[in-house]
């Protein structure tokens, strides 16, 4: 256990993909085979689009977290996930490039357990108070997009999401009041290297020995070690989607029933290793200053993190967060499309899909700022902005040479100049929307659109940039990332 006036959480953010697959649609397709899942066929779950994965979702959560934050203050970025796209290529390194952070940034991937994010957060919070850093803040991210077999429970229960918190010793919105951890090799489920799906054991045993036994035991010992009265906890976060488990644990530990946080089962689903962080962000959004938050992480042991919110909460600039992400959700009933997008249904894609997507490492390396960071060029002589930057300016009135400086475009808004919905080119989600956009403040590009609906695309439509998968080299198993333009959510 640790204690004392340590660092804290300076900022937070979240990203939940727009599409909400109706569980009734999943169940309807599989009821003939797995009728017993009927009890889970309620509400909706968040699903990533075909061009999203744990990296892209983490980038969006990071951008939300860094809202109003000077990015030069970020000293490290870490990503917790059990669904990292790359086993060996630092996933958080891709995120660092997408965020256009300084090269002098530390990075780390944390994986292997459903409590990867809480363990990472404990290390970050401890580090923040330890005085070992250079005063820069730590970006802690968690993101998860789990695959589950058709007709499995996980398919209905899981959800795709990402969340982030910024950790440091500055003006914290929530102070770190201590943590408590246990480690016990409890194999309620596992996924070995190379496996696509979890293999799980009987739910009754998990409930009795795992949730009640391990979490219940850790709460009993942990609260004592942390020196906190159970009755003073204002928000109790248990990222377990099995009905009644958080309430039962609260009751047994003596925590107020109204302190138990909703686990977003009905609207998002269980986002695995990202879920503790996602629920923490939701709790912080709703918290008032001076509240005690107890966050639980569970996976081969238990993590407990105690936080206390401060007056600084009110000073945080507006962000999408969990609340905003939930508000922009869009009903989806196309179960087959989702199976295809997750690689679980082998549709006939036609010869156009055969085009080789080989990515030379050299060109990506040379152009990493433009490709991963959407950094263009700005002519220091004329102010002309362009993408990508080039030796000689595009400005017809002054083709100034070697005058350009880096000019990040990812956070600029843009407007559609031309567009089409292309049903001929291969896309996993036809028709493929793309067109030309003009950025506010200069610069234009031809770009693919994301999250577009047919009735909401026109010349002049305001767009924002999102980090997505551009394509996959299926022959060599390499994911190519780039930016796309998505419609800015209209004010309600």
């Amino acid at each position: 256990m640790t204690n004392g006036p340590l660092g804290g959480i300076l900022s937070f953010g979240a990203y939940i993909p727009k599409k909400r697959l109706q569980r009734a649609s999943i169940y309807a397709a599989n009821a003939w085979f797995a009728g017993g899942l009927k009890g889970l066929a309620k509400g909706e779950r968040a699903i990533g689009d075909w061009d999203e994965d744990a990296i892209t979702m983490a980038v969006e959560a990071a951008r939300d977290t860094l809202e109003g934050v000077d990015r030069t203050t970020v000293g490290s970025v870490a990503l917790a996930s059990t669904t990292l796209p790359f086993v060996d290529r630092q996933n958080s390194g891709v995120i660092k490039e997408a965020l256009n952070l300084a090269d002098e940034t530390g990075a780390m991937d944390v994986t292997g357990s459903m409590r990867a994010a809480t363990s990472l957060l404990i290390q970050a919070l401890k580090g923040a108070g330890g005085g070992s850093g250079d005063g820069r803040v730590q970006l802690v991210l968690a993101s998860e997009m789990r695959k589950a077999r058709p007709a499995s429970e996980g398919e209905l229960v899981n959800g795709d999401a990402a969340a982030g918190v910024l950790v440091g010793s500055g003006d914290a919105v929530a102070l770190f009041k201590g943590s408590y951890s246990t480690t016990i090799d409890f194999v309620d489920h596992y996924r070995s290297t190379g496996m696509d799906f979890d293999y799980g054991w009987e739910s009754r045993w998990i409930r009795d020995e795992g949730f009640t036994g391990l979490i219940g035991g850790a709460l009993k010992d942990g609260l004592k070690a942390l020196g906190v009265e159970a009755g003073t906890i204002d928000k109790f976060i248990v990222p377990i989607s099995v009905r009644g488990v958080p309430d039962g644990l609260a009751k047994k530990a003596g925590i107020k029933p109204e302190a138990v946080a909703d686990v977003l089962s009905a609207s998002v689903g269980d986002s695995g290793a990202a879920h503790p962080l996602l629920l923490l962000v939701a709790a912080l959004e709703a918290a008032k200053p001076g509240e005690k938050i107890l966050l639980v992480g569970f996976g081969q042991g238990v993590d407990l993190i105690l936080l206390e919110t401060t007056e600084a909460l009110a000073k945080l600039s507006p962000r999408k967060g969990v609340k905003g992400s939930l508000a922009r959700g869009q009903k989806d009933e196309n179960y087959l499309r989702w199976l295809f997008h997750r690689g679980l249904l082998d549709l006939e894609r036609g010869m156009r899909a055969e085009a080789d997507q080989k990515q030379p490492g050299t060109t990506l390396w040379r152009n990493r700022k433009a490709v991963l960071g959407l950094v263009g060029g700005r002519c220091t002589k004329t102010g002309t902005v362009q993408f990508p930057r080039s030796d000689i300016s595009v400005n017809p009135n002054d083709h100034a040479a070697h005058t350009q400086e880096d000019y990040p475009l990812a956070d600029k808004r843009a407007k559609i100049v031309t567009y089409t919905a292309d049903a001929l080119t291969y896309s996993p989600a036809p028709p493929s929307y793309y067109g030309m956009i003009d950025f506010d403040g200069g610069g234009r590009m031809m770009i693919e659109f994301a999250d577009v609906s047919a009735d909401d695309v026109e010349v002049g439509r305001e767009m924002e940039m999102v980090f997505r998968i551009k394509g996959t080299d299926e022959m060599r198993d390499f994911t190519k990332y780039f930016w796309k333009a998505a419609p800015v959510a209209k004010e309600a």
């Binding site: 036609g350 010869m351 156009r352 055969e354 085009a355 080789d356 997507q357 990515q359 030379p360 060109t363 990506l364 040379r366 152009n367 433009a370 490709v371 002309t384 902005v385 362009q386 993408f387 990508p388 080039s390 595009v394 400005n395 017809p396 100049v417 031309t418 567009y419 089409t420 919905a421 292309d422 049903a423 001929l424 080119t425 291969y426 028709p431 493929s432 793309y434 067109g435 030309m436 003009d438 950025f439 200069g442 610069g443 234009r444 590009m445 031809m446 770009i447 693919e448 026109e458 010349v459 002049g460 551009k470 190519k480 780039f482």
Partner: protein
Amino acid sequence: MARGIKDKVAILGMGCAKFGERWDKDADQLMVEAFEEAIGDAGIDSSQIDAAWLGVAFDAVNIGPSGIPLSMALRLPNIGVTKVENYCASGTESFRGAVYAVASGAADIALALGVEKLKDTGYGGLPVRTRGTTFDMVGVTGSAPGNFAQLASAYRAAHGVGKDDLKRAMAHVSVKSHANGAKNPKAHLRKAVDMETVLGAPMIAEPLGLFDCCGVSDGAACAIVTTPEIARSLGKKDLVTVKALQISTSNGWELQQGGGWNGSYFHTTRIAATKAYEEAGVTNPREQISLTEVHDCFSITELVTMEDLYLSKEGEGWRDVLDGVFDADGQVPCQIDGGLKCFGHPIGASGLRMIYENYLQLLGRAGERQRKTPPSLALSHNLGGMPSQNVSAVAIVGLADA
């Protein structure tokens, strides 16, 4: 501006293969088919050719690199043969090579041949291909219809034209070309279509339906050029000469300069047309140009090209189209041979196919589709790339004394 090459080069002979799904022939056999007609028309022997240019765009599904395939197919006398590729303007680009060679005096007789076999890809439309490893990371590899369809969204916004009005004007473009193509034995698609069929066709790339898109075919076309003096010495009486030949290439302004180009027209075509008219001495194109063959890869491309060639006023092209100005019996017929719409677009061949039709029309050899009013100046417009980034070629040919 440079003095230009008006009347310095004459067309000695031309040939054009039957366009279509030529399951029966390889690219080199299509070359021979076009060449045999051209050399017969020219009345010379291949040993008299001093230099040759070959236009091909998709060499990977075609003939492979270099000028060697042309030299081998025609058994040319070990002369210099150069392969050129300039997107879909490759045909006119090959013509430019040959014409410039003659105009410069470097060659007495030169040959241009364009060929493409698109029907060996296994699917419709143009082959999907890379545009370079850097572009592929940040660019959009849409389909050709998707790239050109964007003209429509921008044109509607720029000129306040309703979706239905523009769609009807686009449909008229295709109905007109099909009516013309039905009369042409060398065309691929020879069936007339009505407005309802065009308007009701499946959507390919919003707002382009199936009939707003040109066909996809195999084909070849060939031109043999020389000086007017040599042509006359070889017994030619009615000479068709090159009045102007201009190519304009995008430098990124349309694609990259925020707030500049509005997406509704071809910046390069306007430049190429202006230069070509100056070179040919044309001051009022709508009155002076007898007919045009333009790059109607898509109906909307032809429509905005009427404005870019200054045959219609800006924003009024769609009305002129609906008024029949460009019909076969209109003021300035466009695609009197059926156009890309009915010939299909074997990339390397198209630019030369257009000049072939203009050549026939000028000499009164166009048979059933011959323009009644005898033409004197004919324009061809051959475009490569996409609206935001392209190569635009304008060639004006005419009777020697016009």
